[in-house]
């Protein structure tokens, strides 16, 4: 389309930098990202199939009040997982890749970047892989179970017992997503498209998964079921969901062709020897960006270096058990400045190529597809 050109906008950042400092407490209208910021690839995308579907879900009965009081009580479905997919023409035989997003985000993480460049979803498809992008249970198009909030409204649930809704402020995103050490001050070598930071802010949605979901998180089983239905898939998680591929793989190891853990919030230290033995049968890649020592401003995880180290420990345990787990730290290869949102960084396709090369070597070449 004529209005979509290779012209990343640099307007948004200026607006943010000024407004955050000058008019706190007010509501500020934001310019929409103009369609003209969206970049059109040089060659068409040829898809054998695309669309969406759901995995999982449970039927529950709720009262009139729990359903919002506009109709009678009855049954609804909760805990289902929405999945959008694209299958490239000629890509049937290649291993599918499932990409799961992090906290306060949705599957949008993997789509068009904040500055209008191609996301990993399309790039992996163009490299021949069917790609499946879910919204975690409880968020986005997967919905959530609203009953407890309507119950609080009606007085039958104590408000203090409501689950919290989490969102990260722009001020927290700067150090926590490692755009820069503090708001308005990007790292000189930052790979994040800082001018489009307001577009990242729009990707935020309320996240009820800190106390408002069943245990274990239904997304674990949904991911495992999806991989099973696909007759095997590479499971890729990010941040909050960075460890989800491990949990899904433990439910059905045969369906997990490989695991890619992108900037996991933590790598679990609680796995038994038996679980480690299972994980040692699956190729695992952990990916971490740069500037991990930056203080996050969040008490529960003072720095991402701690997350990195927890994954190094897990990698060590898996290797001791004879497995193939490894760390990809682009900074160690001279690629500096990658942020927590590495799939949206300016060099996102360079990082994708490193992951694709690993999948080629660890999965495709071994006939494990």
């Amino acid at each position: 389309m004529g209005r979509q050109r290779f012209s990343a906008s640099c307007r948004s950042l200026v607006v943010v930098g000024v407004t955050l400092a000058s008019v706190p407490g007010t509501t500020i209208g934001l310019d929409a990202q103009s369609l003209k910021d969206l970049q059109t690839p040089d060659t068409p995308l040829v898809l054998k199939a695309q669309g969406s579907f759901f995995v999982g879900g449970e039927k529950v009965e709720q009262t009139k009040g729990e359903l919002g009081d506009l109709g009678p009580g009855g049954h609804i479905t909760v805990n289902q997982m929405y999945v959008r997919y694209m299958v490239p023409q000629g890509g049937d035989g290649n291993v599918p890749v499932v990409m799961v997003h992090g906290a306060t985000l949705t599957g949008k993480s993997w789509e068009t970047t904040p500055d209008g460049r191609m996301g990993w979803d399309e790039y992996f498809v163009r490299k021949g892989h069917p790609v499946y992008v879910p919204d975690q249970v409880g968020r986005g198009r997967s919905g959530f179970n609203q009953a407890v909030f309507n119950d609080a409204r009606a007085g039958s649930v104590t408000p203090a017992n409501l689950p919290r809704w989490l969102r990260f402020s722009d001020e927290v995103v700067w150090p926590n997503f490692r755009i820069g050490p503090e708001p308005g001050h990007p790292f000189p070598d930052s790979q994040f498209p800082v001018a489009a930071l307001d577009e990242l802010a729009k990707q935020g949605v309320p996240d009820v998964s800190f106390g408002g979901l069943p245990t274990p998180n239904p997304t674990f089983k949904a991911l495992s079921d999806l991989a099973t239905q696909l007759n095997g898939a590479v499971l890729m998680g990010h941040s909050q969901s960075g460890s989800f591929p491990l949990e899904a793989a433990l439910l059905n190891p045969a369906a997990a062709k490989a695991l890619v853990l992108v900037e996991p919030g933590r790598c679990p230290d609680t796995y038994t020897a038996g679980q480690i033995k299972t994980l040692a049968t699956i190729p695992i890649l952990v990916v971490f960006g740069d500037h991990r020592d930056t203080p996050t401003g969040i008490s529960i995880r003072p720095s991402w270096q701690l997350s990195f180290e927890s994954c190094q420990t897990l990698i060590g345990r898996i290797k001791e058990a004879g497995g193939h787990a490894e760390m990809l730290s682009p900074a160690d290869r001279g690629i500096h400045g990658n942020s927590h949102m590495i799939m949206q960084d300016k060099n996102n396709l360079q990082i994708a190529d490193l992951i694709l090369q690993w999948i080629e070597e660890r999965v495709t070449k071994r006939g494990n597809k």
Copy 2:
């Protein structure tokens, strides 16, 4: 992919019919829609571009508690509108179509049908139109403003003042979406893929728009802004959003190339003579399915025939003002059994063809693209 075949499943319905009647009050695990139910078209889909972006949004400052208590207070963006798009190769010059979903639903409405057939989003693209599918502000990947719920949790908002979250029960969907007069009893001529009704149930998400959004609904302006950025578009709404194209068109009539109102909850009777004069400059098509006399079981709209009649009245006013507004009632053409979810009915592409033909005549042939 080998696992995606033309084999619509008939298993889900049986499960629902039995479980609703036999084990009320229990939680019932649902089988996922198997990937094998997804149908693969005979020819590839060739896209010049695809991806997603946001329209609108406001920056607001919130407290630590309002943001979920895991970090300090600060600014977030709310009231933005997520939009996914596909542009067909060679379709740049054709008028774009924006498809907006109804209450308790998301943009998923227009994607793959519950029984795995092609949705209107892909079909309109295959017919040459760029297609843009938003999630309404407050739902799905557009997120919502969570502050008031966290405030209630902290005790600073009275629970009775919380906005309600609406979902429709399966029992309400049967008559309200006109699948059949009561649960488990489809109309003999129903066009809805009844065997896949549980997959429609999974499309439901909590809807805060009945009292929990700013006034006017931010989606009106976001739709108008989107149409403006597109240099003109056909705006299509459904059910709750059936009247949204009218509201968006009144904000910028020049950008509204045509309006398609699919099963509007109501057509407004409050427009001034000046507003009607403006709407008379835009081609308008209203689409209604069959069995409109079915009692819905919802007090605020006892039957869809009342909605139909409100639109006949609006059409009359616009025609009196010299405009081109018309009703498409497939039943009047001998096409019987269409439901409220007409874009998902078994004959959904037949209905789409009627709308595409109207767009061709009212927009394309008149050079108004």
